[in-house]
């Protein structure tokens, strides 16, 4: 195909970074819960999907997109708290596969419940009017809404970083992740810490689902594909490392984008090829702590 210009390559690179930001957003909740709780949350995609549906419901009740941005993470985060309290909590200390299987089953239940409540067919989810259309970014036109998603991702990351690194509660969370025994001895209620981390992780998953809704529409199975992508990003970045997830997400985006330019039919496979290469060279991922899975 003709028409390969420098502008196109630059635009393609930008599209890759933008897609990468979306991957980061998909992965961050998963990475947070794994890093702090060592729980592999297989229901991550289901929480993401529920986020989109709660958004849809808020719109049906007469709300707007901006209300959704607040209401969706709150509602689904609250649901996450209940899931942690009644389902995950009894399984702590029993090995990594117990919560994994539980959340795996939970994801099926959640998808099926949404099918019953909202039906199997999808719903449209319009981009908020003010964010419609494409803007010139110098090398070509790019959808305004995607730029908004990048901004929202950056905001979530910044807030999370400030919370974990700059608040005393964040300090307790990080300490709890390192050595729950000592933290408990110091008189901190570790189970409350874990509860809140799980709630935040699911709230971010739901936030991601809401932001994805205008890009893809809403359907009960929408969490399936992103679960795979989020896992790749988490594994490449290093299980549990949020910084790693950011770097890996952006890298995966660029790899997909560049593969799309030259061999588009390979784009989907390229994600997994990248993961395989990283796992061979560096099994714990970019910034992963070795032995976290054992």
């Amino acid at each position: 195909m003709a028409g390969l210009s420098l502008d196109l390559i630059a635009l393609q690179l930008f599209a890759g970074l933008a897609l990468g930001a979306i991957y980061v957003l998909f992965a961050i909740g998963l990475s947070l819960i794994f890093g702090m709780l060592t729980v592999v949350n297989f229901a991550h995609g289901a929480f993401y999907m529920v986020g989109a549906y709660v958004g849809l419901y808020v719109l049906m009740l007469g709300g707007n997109f901006w209300i959704c941005l607040i209401a969706v993470p709150l509602a689904v985060g609250l649901f996450g708290l209940l899931v942690e309290h009644f389902l995950i909590r009894p399984l702590y200390g029993r090995g990594i596969d117990y919560p994994l299987l539980l959340t795996f089953g939970l994801s099926y239940v959640m998808v099926e419940l949404v099918r019953i409540a909202f039906g199997k067919t999808g719903y449209p989810f319009d981009t908020p009017e003010i964010l419609q259309g494409a803007v010139n970014i110098g090398v070509g036109y790019f959808p305004l809404y995607r730029l908004f998603v990048i901004g929202a991702t950056a905001a979530v990351l910044l807030a999370l970083w400030l919370f974990l690194e700059k608040t005393s509660f964040g300090l307790i969370i990080r300490a709890g992740a390192r050595d729950p025994q000592i933290v408990r001895v110091l008189g901190v209620d570790v189970s409350r810490v874990w509860l809140i981390v799980f709630g935040i992780g699911t709230a971010i998953a739901a936030f991601a689902g809401l932001l994805a809704a205008p890009l893809q529409g809403v359907i009960p199975e929408m969490g399936g594909t992103i679960l795979a992508e989020a896992f790749v990003v988490t594994v490449v970045g290093g299980m549990g490392s949020i910084g790693g997830a950011v770097l890996a997400g952006l890298l995966v985006g660029v790899v997909v984008s560049m593969t799309s330019l030259f061999a588009p039919e390979m784009a989907k496979v390229s994600i997994f090829a990248l993961m395989a290469v990283v796992l061979i060279v560096r099994p714990q991922g970019f910034f992963g702590r070795a032995g976290l899975m054992s």
């Binding site: 195909m1 003709a2 028409g3 210009s5 502008d7 196109l8 635009l11 393609q12 599209a15 890759g16 933008a18 897609l19 979306i22 199997k120 067919t121 999808g122 719903y123 449209p124 989810f125 319009d126 981009t127 419609q132 259309g133 494409a134 070509g140 036109y141 790019f142 959808p143 809404y145 995607r146 890009l215 893809q216 529409g217 359907i219 199975e221 929408m222 594909t225 992103i226 997909v256 984008s257 799309s260 330019l261 588009p264 039919e265 784009a267 989907k268």
Partner: protein, 417 residues
């Protein structure tokens, strides 16, 4: 020794109890009467379609309308009182799964006929199973290969349109109106490949220039890395050849990227169910083809009758394009049964070959050499304003009347004259 005896005794007692209670329940239930009445087994039609996965929305419509055809046949007295029954299976849009399910339907359920499929690739897998076992299969999704001598058998019927017919109709319309430079965004499997071939075929007459064909895997959720490349090619027409959720997402994201400002988007098929699921924004202004649109009911009495029956059965909903195919596929087989007065395969084949039918979209018939249904193609444009109700989604802007000349010739397909 004694232990063994008690064990077997316990089992036989339990089995006896189970059998007795089941028998008692049966005797007391209204099923008994049914059992006595239905001495003859029903006419079984296997129906493998991809209920889950990216084409799920369309597949569910196929089932709904097929059930209507069954109900109408039974209400009209069946075949001398013998009723028909639909056995729906999920083929998961996977050829291997479809072959297994079809084999089960044939070997275990002893179905008389198979109707179904919603994929150019999957229907060939089903056809392989049915033709080897001498079971009639009426395919209700697009494929060119199924008409060709290598895949065809006398048991194979094709109620759906095929890519050559569809792309020909849409291409003739689009190339004369929107320009000669075309680029493709194509789902990377048989459906996409056959459609591109069809568009380029008809494009020769219009001196169309092919700028490039970008292929994406089935089930893609993000097209943002493919669209800049296509925009940079600066075509007059972008032809997006995919289906189901892929179509919904790609049209939506193409709209976001501002493709429609300078480029006319066309699609060989615009799916009613996908248009409803994706909303008017995403499909706005897109031109494409379809085999059926409920809005032609003011033109054909058969369409009106079909729509009304469907509305009655499903709370006022109207049938979609692929729904209509599910209806047509089952209805023609059952019409063959009725005309033949038997479920005997050869007699039903002869009866179906002789059909001149108008069941839902105007006159149709199966061409003798490849059992392709000769039918009209509708050219439609998606509406985004002045919609009267939620089903008022397309405007019919052209019609290719049924004409064998728009199909590939029997000789070209490898059939002996």
């Amino acid at each position: 020794m004694t232990r063994n005896v008690t064990k077997s005794e316990r089992i036989s007692r339990r089995r006896l109890l189970a059998t007795a209670s089941a028998g008692a329940a049966l005797a007391a239930s209204p099923f008994r009467i049914n059992l006595l009445q239905a001495q003859e087994t029903p006419i079984k039609i296997g129906f493998p379609v991809p209920l889950t996965g990216p084409y799920g929305t369309e597949a569910q419509d196929q089932v709904r309308a097929a059930q209507l055809a069954i109900a109408q046949f039974n209400d009209a007295g069946g075949l001398n009182g013998r009723k028909a029954e639909l056995l729906v299976r999920d083929d998961k849009l996977n050829p291997g799964e479809a072959a297994t399910r079809t084999l089960e339907l044939v070997e275990k359920e002893k179905v008389n006929f198979v109707v179904g499929s919603l994929s150019a690739a999957v229907q060939l897998a089903i056809n392989n199973v049915t033709k080897e076992r001498g079971i009639i299969f009426n395919s209700i999704s697009q494929s060119d290969a199924i008409n060709e001598a290598a895949d065809f058998s006398k048991y194979t019927f094709h109620e759906a349109m095929n890519p050559h017919l569809t792309s020909g109709a849409v291409g003739r319309y689009a190339f004369s109106k929107f320009g000669k430079k075309i680029a493709f965004l194509t789902a990377d499997y048989a459906y996409g490949h056959e459609m591109v071939r069809g568009f380029l075929d008809v494009g020769k007459k219009f001196n169309v220039e092919n700028l490039g064909d970008v292929r994406h895997p089935l089930g893609t959720s993000d097209f943002s890395t493919l669209l800049p490349r296509l925009q940079a090619l600066k075509p007059d027409i972008l032809c997006i050849i995919n289906f189901g959720r892929d179509q919904q997402i790609s049209l939506r994201q193409a709209t976001d990227f501002g493709v429609k400002k300078t480029i006319q988007i066309i699609a060989p098929l615009l799916s009613h169910a996908s248009r409803v699921a994706a909303g008017p924004q995403a499909f706005e202004g897109v031109v494409g083809g379809c085999s059926f649109y409920w809005g032609i009911e003011d033109k054909f009495a058969s369409t009106k009758a079909f729509n009304d029956a469907f509305r009655k059965m499903y709370d006022g909903k109207v049938p979609t394009d692929y729904g209509a195919l599910g209806y047509g596929g089952v209805r023609t087989v059952l019409a063959g049964v009725k005309n033949a007065g038997s479920v005997d395969t050869d007699k039903v084949i002869a009866a179906m070959e002789a059909l001149k039918y108008d069941f839902y979209k105007g006159p149709q018939y199966y061409r003798k050499c490849d059992h392709q249904s000769v039918q009209s193609v509708l050219i439609i444009q998606s509406k985004s304003k002045d919609m009267k109700n939620e089903s008022d989604v397309f405007e019919v802007i052209g019609t290719d009347e049924p004409n064998e000349a728009n199909l590939r010739t029997c000789e070209a397909l490898g059939h002996k004259a």
